[in-house]
Amino acid sequence: MSTVISELLNKECVVLGGDFSSSEEVIFAVGQKLMELGFVKDSFVQAAIDREKVLPTGLPLAGGINAAIPHTDIEHVLKPALGMAILKDPITFQNMVSPSESVSVNLVFLLALDQPKAQVEMLQEVASVLQDPDLVSDLIGQDTIEGVLNCFGK
């Protein structure tokens, strides 16, 4: 499963553990990696941070371990890619559908999409990961990048 995630997830763009104190810091850390590897423009990180403030992406999940899927407009992206953070200590994001509610998030997928509606398969796979509490729990338990990639069958 998750073949498209395996293709688009670069192991350099996976952040583990991390000593972060805000959603902004998490997006910055993962976004910097996407930028250094040439997937996104310099403007991406700030755009994703700004967008998260106005249109948050926190998602409460069935298993009680929650996720966020920050992303921003296509003009900041050079090549489609996926960055990820697995947080030992949860960070507060705001709920996508109800922004006044806080969501404690351990799993972050930072989406770099370069065309509207183009990365449908990747997005559907991300959604199917979010809908699988066992897989989410497995991911959160990983302390090596190889372990994370194995969860996706890479």
Binding site: R51, V54, L55, L59, L61, I69, M96, V97, V120, L130
Partner: protein, 95 residues
């Protein structure tokens, strides 16, 4: 024959979340033999595009005074309550 019902699917950027939601709705209603069309837009565009729609499904807050039913849901992303939301969509499209 009735024309297919039109569902406007909104999210923040109209590129990520609404793509998953639109696909989810299309597949679920196709399985049930219900013909619909979807169009994706940004939450900020809903008011200007709602005129053509029978229903709005959104993952981010939108105005409630649009003149058509609005369903706010994360179910197509998180899977939680998905069956209930599909039933709600079908109900709202009957009106």
């Amino acid at each position: 024959m009735d024309r297919p019902k039109r569902i406007l699917v909104a999210c923040g950027t109209a590129i990520a979340t609404s793509t998953v939601v639109a696909k989810g709705i299309e597949e679920a209603l196709k399985e049930r033999g219900i013909k619909i069309t979807t169009r994706q837009c940004k939450a900020s565009e809903v008011r200007s595009l709602v005129g053509n729609a029978d229903l709005v499904v959104t993952t981010t807050p939108v105005p409630q005074d649009l003149g058509v039913p609005v369903i706010q849901t994360l179910a197509f992303l998180t899977g939680m309550g998905k069956e209930e939301v599909i039933e709600e969509i079908i109900e709202k499209l009957k009106d």
